[in-house]
């Protein structure tokens, strides 16, 4: 099987004035289809740079990056944009939905670019299907300001899924959410992952990382640990536990 992500000795060096800052040094990483991986680390560990590199938003200074078999290193701006459009579904910490635009149109957005040229009806049908997957089909005409944080993030997940990408790339997807909603989102991820979708997630919360299958920890631009998660959280169970705790707290009162 061909890996979704294949990093071979990636270096990223930023020029900050006269000083050279090495954000990522000699990192190699392979992610196979169906994996659910968390990239962890404190701020300044190089995980944001990893995220940008994996998301084809930035090119590595040195090394080779194969995304779903395509060598990204030599591609220009427009080619990178097409690659993002076809192979990657982005999920951001701040949701990054277009304001004053309905959920449905937000989900349609990736299909507007990259030369898809689908008829309006087909666009709509596919966007609706993606919204159904995240359980928001009923709220398709709501604008983001009328949706809760969790719902907004689910719209963003639907948008990420709509072009049937090779992987989902999530950047601190629960950073702006409370613990209960975070579990909801993790539930959505686990469900999608069970259906075979590859997910790479950047996070600094060890709790959240325990919902994934594999944890990669970075420090000072290098990978310091890469382990399979043993006692993995199941989002549905965690939700039940949380509800039980709430119930108990109420009884004590």
């Amino acid at each position: 099987m061909q890996p979704v992500i294949s990093l071979e000795s990636i270096w990223k060096i930023y020029q900050s004035g006269d000083v050279e800052v090495t954000a990522v040094r000699d990192v190699s990483l392979t992610v196979m289809p169906g994996e659910f991986i968390a990239i962890m680390g404190a701020s300044g560990s190089g995980k944001s740079t990893m995220m940008n590199t994996l998301g084809c938003l930035d090119r590595p200074t040195r090394g080779r990056y194969l995304l779903d078999g395509v060598d990204v290193s030599g591609l220009d701006r427009d080619k990178l944009a097409d690659l993002r459009n076809q192979k990657i579904g982005f999920i951001f910490q701040g949701f990054n939905l277009l304001s004053r635009t309905s959920a449905l149109e937000n989900v349609e957005l990736p299909m507007m670019y990259g030369g898809h040229r689908l008829p309006a009806k087909e666009l709509r049908a596919r966007a609706m299907k993606a919204l159904e997957l995240v359980g928001l089909a009923k709220r398709f005409d709501h604008t983001p300001n009328r949706l809760s944080g969790g719902q907004q993030q689910r719209v963003a997940i639907a948008r990420a899924l709509v072009n049937r990408p090779a992987m989902l790339l999530a950047d601190e997807p629960t950073g702006n959410l409370d613990s209960r909603t975070s579990i909801e989102i993790m539930d959505a991820f686990q469900t999608l992952n069970e259906q075979g979708i590859t997910i790479a997630m950047v996070t600094h919360e060890p709790d959240i990382a325990r919902y994934t299958k594999r944890n990669v920890v970075m420090r000072d631009g290098v990978i310091v640990s890469d382990i399979q998660v043993k006692d993995r959280f199941n989002a549905k169970e965690e939700m039940r536990r949380l509800d039980g705790e709430l119930q108990a707290a109420k009884l004590v009162k």
Binding site: L57, R77, R84, F90, R159
Partner: protein, 422 residues
């Protein structure tokens, strides 16, 4: 990305900031409205001048007797006293392409009939004069060739003069006295209205030039000669040949000034329209400046818009928008803004021309007299489709020109920075 989708996004973005969009468009609206209104009024005035020039007749060449300086005193036109009837005859005979000539004598005199009298212009002309100027008769007819030859005391009366002396009575066959000489009226001329100089062309009494010489001025000197050329395209050649002939006849040596002036109808038209043309160009220039100012307004607001929507640009780029998708989105937004302003401006300009006309008419009715106002009120206002199309295209072009820099700036954004922008 599909153009229709881009257009829809642009329209929605403009709708979101209605007030801002309208204020931004205002510059273009005022500019285009000003262009339309000013050029419309200017063209109207020009058309009016052209209509007046057409009352001269067709392919007319006017030869004026020139001035002569004697002892340092310049005598004014006609003072040279060198223009004779023979000159007119030889022009007709010797210059090819000349179809008709009429020697002209002009003086002013008191006309009297019964207990009425009126001071008017007396013209001495040949019977061909009426044909040359395409001047028709409402009653009676012209005096004849025979009348000219015999210097008969007959004449043709203009409409204004006829009304002053005879009121509603039929003047044909009646007798008027000019300097105590009785003249029989053979015809009443159709109204020609005001000349370019503002003189009433109908306030006139026209007699055979021979009669004018013999009975009224007592001199054989002409004020000028009216000449008609066979066609439009030989005008300048005929004019040159008339000049040459007259110089020869008047024995003017090389290097000396002419003692006459030859003016073609086109020259007169050009002189008369030059002023209104200058006016139109000037007004157009002012309007263009306001269009450019409007364009700068668009550029300004587009730059603000790009900054405000940096995050949106980042999102679009992250999900696969190319630089040129972003470029066309913002460019179309700017062009929509400016061309919408253009359309509103065109509507406003057209309606304001009519409002201006109405206002001038009201002023006129209230006896607030002003030549310029009168010209606007009664002159035709010409909104040519050309100027409408030009202003629309120009306003769209303003959008492209001034929208390009902000759009380019948006397209050049780095997706990582744009996504992180707060």
């Amino acid at each position: 990305m599909k153009l229709t989708a881009t257009f829809r996004i642009a329209l929605r973005a403009l709708k979101r900031n209605k007030m801002r969009s309208i204020l931004t468009m205002l510059g273009i609206i005022i500019g285009v409205a000003a262009v339309i209104a000013m050029v419309g009024v200017g063209n109207g005035a020009k058309a009016q001048v052209e209509a007046q020039i057409a009352t001269l007749g067709k392919n007319m060449i006017l030869v004026f007797a020139g001035s002569m300086t004697s002892g340092g005193a310049k005598g004014g036109y006609g003072a040279a006293g060198t223009m004779k009837v023979e000159d007119a005859v030889s022009i007709l005979r010797e210059v090819p392409g000349v179809t008709l000539v009429s020697p002209e004598i002009r003086s002013g005199a008191q006309l009297a009939a019964g207990n009425q009298n009126w001071f008017t212009t007396i013209l001495g002309e040949s019977p061909d004069y009426f044909e040359m100027r395409e001047w028709e008769f409402t009653d009676g007819s012209s005096f004849t060739e025979q009348d000219t030859r015999s210097a008969n005391k007959v004449g043709v009366i203009g409409k204004t003069t006829a009304q002053q002396i005879f009121g509603d009575d039929d003047p044909v066959g009646q007798i008027v006295r000019v300097k105590n000489v009785p003249f029989k009226i053979t015809g009443v001329l159709k109204s020609k209205g005001f000349s370019l100089g503002g003189a009433d062309q109908d306030d006139v009494f026209i007699v055979p030039y021979t009669t004018a010489m013999k009975r009224l001025t007592g001199a054989t000197i002409l004020r000028g000669i009216d000449v008609q050329a066979a066609s439009d395209d030989i005008m300048s050649r005929v004019q040159d040949q008339i000049s040459e002939l007259l110089r020869q006849r008047h024995n003017i040596r090389a290097g000396h000034d002419d003692d006459f002036m030859v003016r073609g109808q086109q020259d007169i038209a050009e002189m008369a329209t030059a002023q209104s043309k200058t006016m139109t160009v000037l007004l157009g220039a002012i309007a263009s400046v306001s269009l450019i100012v409007g364009g700068i307004g668009i550029m300004n607001i587009m730059l603000v818009s790009v900054t405000e929507r940096t995050r949106e640009i980042g999102i679009r780029m992250a999900v696969g928008a190319h630089g040129r998708d972003i470029l066309s989105q913002f460019l179309i937004e700017a062009v929509t803004l400016s061309s919408l302003g253009g359309i509103i401006g065109i509507l406003l300009g057209v309606s304001s021309t009519y409002i201006l006309k109405l206002l001038s008419k009201i002023c006129d009715m209230l006896h607030i007299h002003n030549d310029a106002l009168a010209a606007i009120a009664y002159g035709p206002t010409l909104i040519s489709p050309t100027i409408v199309v030009i202003s629309f295209v120009f306003s769209a072009a303003v959008g492209v020109f001034f929208g390009f820099y902000p759009a380019k700036k948006a397209a050049a954004l780095d997706p990582i920075d744009a996504l992180r922008y707060e």
